[in-house]
Amino acid sequence: MRYLPLTDADRRDMLAVIGARSVDELFEDVPASARLLGKVAGLPDHQGELEVERTFQTFAAKNVSPATAPFFIGAGAYRHHVPATVDHMIQRGEFLTSYTPYQPEITQGTLQYLFEFQTQVTLLTGMEVANASMYDGSTATSEAVLMANRITRRHKAVISGGLHPHYRRVIETAARWEGFSTAACQGDADGLEDLIARVDKESSCVVVQNPSFFGHVRDFTRLAAACHAVGALLIVVVTEVVALGLIKPPGEMGADIVVCEGQSIGNGLGFGGPYVGLFATREKYMRQMPGRLVGETVDAGGKRGFVLTLSTREQHIRREKATSNICTNAGLCALAFTVHLTLLGEAGFRRLAELNHAKASELADRVSSVPGIELVNDSFFNEFTVRLPGPAAPVVEALADRRILAGVPVSRLIPDDPAMENLLLLAATETATEHGVAPLVAGLKEVL
């Protein structure tokens, strides 16, 4: 077995040093009734690289790769070009095969890039502090609500109908089992909901998304003021972080906590994970944050260095009194984010955002020119909603049969709501080309 260095001779020598006759003796604490004799039944034996790789190629061949088809799917995960440098850097063994930086003297590499990451996140969101990443956007959102509950000592979260439906369900699951309540609005396809009327003195927070799940770009400055007037926090969720290159950051709208899905920068689609959650807040709430934090300090020789800090918030120190049960972050995905954003820099990030917006704006014009299709949005970044003359799900299926990946029918994420049935979400990033748009428009004309 290529991964196991010990030879039979090594094993014999080691047993002799231990003073055991066989390895079975080392397992003598296992109750006799639970000892397996031989191997676990019904599973194959080891295989070489070639055989394993072939199996995975067989899996891959049964899927339609987005690289081989016109592609317009978003809804919380976006297809962007990731520079080759990013994947090269994250596959360096010193990053890939290192643990959580608990020994800072020999993990300055990880600690420094996380410090850079935290700084980048504050700049994008317009916030004061950020943590070293969360599992993903959805779990980060749920943690943000829990944090708002801790800060306000209240137990009701108001949830916008523009929030990604999966995110809403993740919050509702936490609410159900961790003991708080939620007031969730109906799917806000038109982007016209009035949340100011819904926030009250019982509310710990209002959770909104910008751009919304349906694509609308909104200003939440007045909502932030309304929240603060009754002692509630405003949580702004961004599922397409590239938007922050072009739109006013949540920090400038008065947000108290900003969470983002960071997948778009540096991380491939990967069928849904692993992704990277960004989490930023105001300095005054720093000690209520979940997750790991990297801070600057000096070493015994006076040199600048970085360490994990404020860990008295965390489970390994505080146990049942921790701010969260979270142990890991998404270190390597955060590295991918940081390397990609560093390559982009100010000029590249802004241009990438402009490019996304322009491509989506063009797509909206082209698609809404198809008879029977109506553009729902007045505003959007790189994703928008259209209303079809009939249910969207069969249209998407029919186009998939033509090898066109034509967006997400809203009914997949919000089932059982007739108002959602005809709605289709379409996204265009910098990867969209005329070779994709033309077949989409032609295909829509055919199947409608």
């Binding site: 290529r2 080392l26 590499g109 993740v170 015994a300």
Partner: protein, 533 residues
């Protein structure tokens, strides 16, 4: 906004040298140990590491919310970015470099085949919301891994979506809460029992769900004190959270009695599967009476730790808890795979909800499955045995100079207390830091909490005997030096040869600096601040 360095004058030229350490070199570098600024101290406006086309002219639809002013991101070219992150990488220790004996973390070899297959077109680039007809192979892959996990654990069901071990704990404990709620016992059973040696995530998870955590003491053999456990069980107990093999690296030999007593009291048995790697192929947790257990794919099945994630924490469930598994899951109808999501027909099931957007950590599933298939049933068992053998070999080879915490064989990790350092003036921390100068990552220190000054060594199955022998030799030498009483100052000053000496963690916590700002220049004494004089 972005400040730059004048390299012709040395790092941050013109700034007065600090009073402390003066670097012996112009650059502050020492051979291959390179000092590296932050990206924010390197950027220049006008530089960019990507080439993007001019955006086409199109209608602006931003609702008047265009971002004003600079974001403040530095501009670097591609070669600068490559050099910067390569230099940073060289400040890290990693499994790829050698023995990484971090107990309870399982730093085993990360095969590159797993990285390759995770990136295949048609796997790594799939969108989670593509039409289900276009991702049939992906769903089959998830189901194949699920089959292995269920078979290896002897459990009938598995929830695949939890993103990490702690997230898996949350999933398992929510399933228990859901089962209690279904029986009308959620309000009555408020206590969760956990051994004093438990991972911190266990009490944190239980507390988050509104349970009160009651610690169970260990006996003098490092196992759960069965009589104390029985005394604590009652109609108010919801569950026990128990790691097995436990955090002392020992198999709970009374595990069958424990699970029987827990079930007789009407409670559930949550097994923390962090140490499943010690017993894969030799013991099926289902045979021990476990109701649910998370599996850290990044430990047992070697998905890379990546400097602290991403992980993945699928949870295997007993028949009693299976109906409460969270959305989504994969279903096979005839020859077609589909995803059971909210609103889809799920029969009489009462899922606990949703833990995460989309379908789970697919990238980790792919890597774990490649690892599992490469090992096969025979290789997984051999890996567990080699891990246990290596830990016992390390323990046997050190027991005369260090102090094993318990008698008898261990499982995959060897636990020592600090009694061998008594009266030497050298602490567990000093000892661990001295290992860095010998070229090793230290073992886990001060965990589990039940052992004084704990040193927990997990060599894993990935090290050759020659490398274990060198490692053992280094530890023996350090133990002898510590006991000689002559080298205390050297231990206190360790590490001396690492990219950094000991860092001031108190300062970091007292005056938190969590981001770069134009004003926070490197401190006095930092080579980045030294002028070339």
């Amino acid at each position: 906004m972005v400040q730059s360095l004048d390299r012709s004058q040395g790092r941050l030229g013109g700034v007065t040298a600090g009073a402390t350490a003066t670097p012996a070199t112009f650059t502050g570098n020492r051979g291959l140990q390179l000092e590296e600024p932050l990206i924010f101290e390197m950027g220049q406006p006008g530089r960019c590491g990507v080439d993007l086309p001019e955006p086409p002219k199109a209608k602006d639809r931003l609702n008047g919310l265009r971002r004003a002013g600079e974001i403040g991101l530095p501009g670097l070219s591609e070669p600068q970015v490559v050099q910067h992150y390569t230099r940073l990488s060289q400040k890290n220790y990693a499994i790829d470099m050698g023995v990484y004996p971090l107990g309870s973390c399982t730093m085993k070899h990360n095969p590159r085949l797993n990285e390759k297959v995770a990136r295949l077109a048609g796997i790594g680039d799939l969108h989670p919301l593509q039409p289900v007809s276009t991702v049939q192979g992906a769903l089959e892959l998830i189901d194949r891994l699920a089959h292995w996990l269920k078979t290896l654990t002897g459990m009938p069901a598995v929830a695949m979506s939890p993103a990490a071990g702690a997230h898996g704990e949350m999933c398992g404990m929510m399933a228990i809460a859901a089962a209690l709620a279904a029986k009308g016992e959620r309000a009555k059973r408020k206590i969760v029992l956990a051994p004093e040696s438990a991972h911190g995530t266990n009490p944190a998870t239980a507390a988050a769900l509104g349970f009160t955590v009651k610690p169970i003491p260990a006996n003098d053999r490092g196992r759960v004190d069965l009589s104390a456990l029985k005394a604590a069980l009652g109609p108010d107990v919801a569950a026990i959270m128990l790691t097995n093999p436990n955090t002392c690296g020992l198999f709970e030999n009374e595990i069958i009695e424990i699970s029987k007593a827990v079930h007789e009291a009407g409670a559930y048995f949550y097994c923390d599967g962090a140490n499943f790697n010690a017993i894969v192929g030799r013991v099926r947790p289902g045979d021990l009476g476990v109701d649910c257990m998370h599996i850290n794919l990044h430990k047992t099945f070697s998905t890379p730790h990546g400097g602290g994630g991403p992980g993945a924490g699928p949870v295997v469930l007993s028949a009693a808890l299976a109906p409460y598994a969270p959305y989504p899951w994969v279903v096979k109808d005839g020859d077609t795979w589909r995803i059971a999501e909210e609103g889809a027909s799920v029969g009489s099931a009462a899922p606990l909800g949703r833990l995460k957007a989309f379908h789970g950590q697919m990238g980790m599933f792919t890597r774990a499955l490649a690892y599992i298939m490469s090992h096969g049933a025979d290789g997984l068992k051999q890996a567990a045995e080699d891990a246990v053998l290596s830990a016992n070999y390390v323990m046997a080879s050190l027991k005369d100079v260090m102090s094993p915490a318990f008698h008898g064989p261990c499982m995959h990790e060897a636990l020592f207390d600090d009694s061998f350092l008594k009266d030497t003036g050298v602490s567990t921390l000093d000892f661990a830091k001295a290992m860095i100068d010998e070229g090793y990552h230290p073992m886990t220190m001060y965990f589990p909490l039940v052992v004084h000054g704990a040193l927990l060594i997990e060599p894993t199955e990935s090290q050759a005997k020659e490398d274990l022998d060198l490692f053992i030799g280094a530890l023996r030498s350090l133990a002898d030096r510590a006991k000689s009483g002559k080298d205390v100052e050297a231990f206190k000053a360790a590490p001396q040869f690492a990219p950094r000496r000991r860092l001031d963690e108190t300062l970091a916590a007292r005056k938190p600096v969590l981001r770069w700002r134009p004003s926070n220049n490197p401190p006095e004494g930092d080579p980045l601040k030294q002028a070339a004089e």
